[in-house]
Point group: C3
Chain length 340, copies 3
Amino acid sequence: MQRTLKQLAEWLGLEFRGEPSLLIEGVSTLEMAGANMVTFLANPKYKDQLPGTRAGAVIISPEVPYERACLISRNPYADFTKVVGLYAPPIPRPAPGIHPLAVVHPEAHLGQDVAIGPFCVVGAKARLGDHTVLTAQVFIGDDTVVGDHCIVYANVVVRERVAIGNRVIIHPGTVIGADGFGFAPVGETYAKIPQIGTVVIEDDVEIGANVTIDRASLGETRLGQGCKIDNLVQIAHNVTIGPLTVIAAQTGISGSSKVGRHVMIGGQAGLSGHLTIGDHAVLGAQAGITRDVPEKQFVSGYPARPHTESMRQLAAVARLPELIKKIQRLEARLQALEEK
Amino acid sequence: MQRTLKQLAEWLGLEFRGEPSLLIEGVSTLEMAGANMVTFLANPKYKDQLPGTRAGAVIISPEVPYERACLISRNPYADFTKVVGLYAPPIPRPAPGIHPLAVVHPEAHLGQDVAIGPFCVVGAKARLGDHTVLTAQVFIGDDTVVGDHCIVYANVVVRERVAIGNRVIIHPGTVIGADGFGFAPVGETYAKIPQIGTVVIEDDVEIGANVTIDRASLGETRLGQGCKIDNLVQIAHNVTIGPLTVIAAQTGISGSSKVGRHVMIGGQAGLSGHLTIGDHAVLGAQAGITRDVPEKQFVSGYPARPHTESMRQLAAVARLPELIKKIQRLEARLQALEEK
Amino acid sequence: MQRTLKQLAEWLGLEFRGEPSLLIEGVSTLEMAGANMVTFLANPKYKDQLPGTRAGAVIISPEVPYERACLISRNPYADFTKVVGLYAPPIPRPAPGIHPLAVVHPEAHLGQDVAIGPFCVVGAKARLGDHTVLTAQVFIGDDTVVGDHCIVYANVVVRERVAIGNRVIIHPGTVIGADGFGFAPVGETYAKIPQIGTVVIEDDVEIGANVTIDRASLGETRLGQGCKIDNLVQIAHNVTIGPLTVIAAQTGISGSSKVGRHVMIGGQAGLSGHLTIGDHAVLGAQAGITRDVPEKQFVSGYPARPHTESMRQLAAVARLPELIKKIQRLEARLQALEEK
């Protein structure tokens, strides 16, 4: 796809400088963009990279001086993101309909324009909403519902009786609805507690690759509207996560914890079970959360404490070897005084 | 399925109070149970929730005063777990036999009532025991043995020459028998060390979703009878794990470590290679285990130490900023004395 | 396969002691090797195990006294690794050609002797090099290139437009080319930033099971020649990793970080985004890397510091409870002096 610089400026509603007929064929970074590509400068601190760029045009804020072709934006990053969407190659998807080598139960219900790729399995009474795509090798269990306009990538497994909303994206290898980890001690051995609950994924959630989201023992595990979950995250049985919460890769949330709305969780964080994390809280990367976190609090470290406290403690620990020497000197001086 | 309160009491062998003909149609939590559901109260500290429940009946211990319909139990949780099993919806499984779109090698050996779902692959000389189920899209390599009454969920991969016992459950996406991570430095590069050993999974083991259990370089990687492994756990080559050990999600165990019997390992713990962890030891969540752990010891922290010591150190660190100020004051006082 | 002790010695170019016609049928450890097996002793500190071995022959260094059958080597481990390769059972692979239950796009291009197992999907304009094997249930997206002599195990997903070099091994369940985790805040919600870049995997890379390697937002995510990646590792969008770097299990590398050449990263380490890790650096297991690491530096702990500093701090923390008591005593002594 090609547009001229002028067409692009009009589409974005931005002023521009430079040759209006310049063909823009794609997007890239300041470093890698070529003569027919557009790039952006969001952070003025990188403006030293401007002279070196070979980009055809730069989306740039009005404060940054730049002589060459540019589109002038109050929010270069947001406008660039729009342009990326414009030039993004289409994501390959199977043709609408059921691939002849997919197995769809005759009692499954498919919406309009559903596309089911090769080697997919769709169980009895499962429902797929309009325009939903299962790319290939996907497993959808009996009675599971997937909403409209969802994309489910290869090798995703969603077991029975799970409910997934609209416009949900699930990346490859993710498992939703496996049994929660529940065992009752019987003497020295363990009896399996049947995990008869389910999982509910609300609208507009995006789930990364090789994530695991377990079904509830009773009731439900729930991800709120608009949550974004990165790769290799573990969400245990009966966890509930509020809307618009963002969880970075390899984090684990133990059973029955309740995470609020618009919480941000860094990578490799771990949460104990039965915790409550308040709305808009921020949990640092690798934090070990062992207690409830009030709303809007930023916690970090192990065990997690308010971040400023955590930083103060780490700074103090860094001074500790020096402190030990100081104490030894104090002791010597004190002894000298005592001996007088 | 429905039973009356009286039938349920008889089936459990418990005394009951309330209308004997009350229909019990399901199980749920105190909070969510409806008028035809049974719930339980295991921990008397939650008894404040009793007045608010709409449950038809509560399984409750004799010490807790409760006027409404109930089943009186010395162990409410264990009895409730039995009832959950009674009301659990059956787990969907493919019809017995081989799905026409599965590929089973003619030299594979299948026991009685084996069920193999669509898009499964079973290799040459593989053996599946009686009543074992491969739900769909499972890979079982050549010469691999799976025992009786096993359930292997979608997208599980078990490579060649692995031995799996009876009544083993393997959740979706798990990989058993991939090559161990073994390389010999050759100058600056690495030569792959062929991983020619195997994996042995004993009876009654349950393995979560997206777990990885590597084959041994020589000999075997082994999980003892009755182990329970949560999601996204990594078990490296030549690790051996004793019977009845429980490992929470995202833990990693490095090569050749030996974990004892009935050990409990918290989530996101990491064990170095070549360690020995004694029977009944407890390793805290996120612990970094760098040394052997004696039997029955509870260790935590990084690097892991006995838990009480670890707690004492963390408490001391929390006091550290205050301590630094105290030392500054001591210094000033000492100086004042010295100047006299 | 069988060889005599003499044949083996000649094949290795080593001197030997013992009966030349002794049949060697396999390899094993000192502990488990039987009378027709060869083993090795690399580390003289384990020489106490020598008298107990039942091995037919031991590969051993000339300094270690040993009366029984042996092959004398300057590098017993390297020579043993060669012998392991000799006796390694062949890894099962599908027959060359396309399995009748695989779906290969007519516009895909396959090299010589390619083997594609059951339930694999190969997309439009994908290219597979000579002798490359997809064992089963593999997904290769449109326009993706896989080089010569690669082995791609079951359930691996490689999405569209990814480039994989020659002699690459990818273990089961790994996902390459899923969307990077990129969202632009729009008020309280998040807009997905299209991830239009790709992933490049250079020659001789080995990637473990259930790994996730995300495609770049723009440009590429790249793994350098000869990298070795263990299981359950997360590599985010736009990360670049230099040649011959080794990454242990469950490590996570955040977006846009640049890891140098021949770096070693321990298990469960976590790296923030936009970092630069110098060549030959070593990052300890469970380290939390929040800053750039200079070349050849060994860092550990959270937040990661030079390892010796980190060790000194941990040692100081261990002394902290005792230190607090010491300060209390100092205080008392000082007060006593002041009161005089």
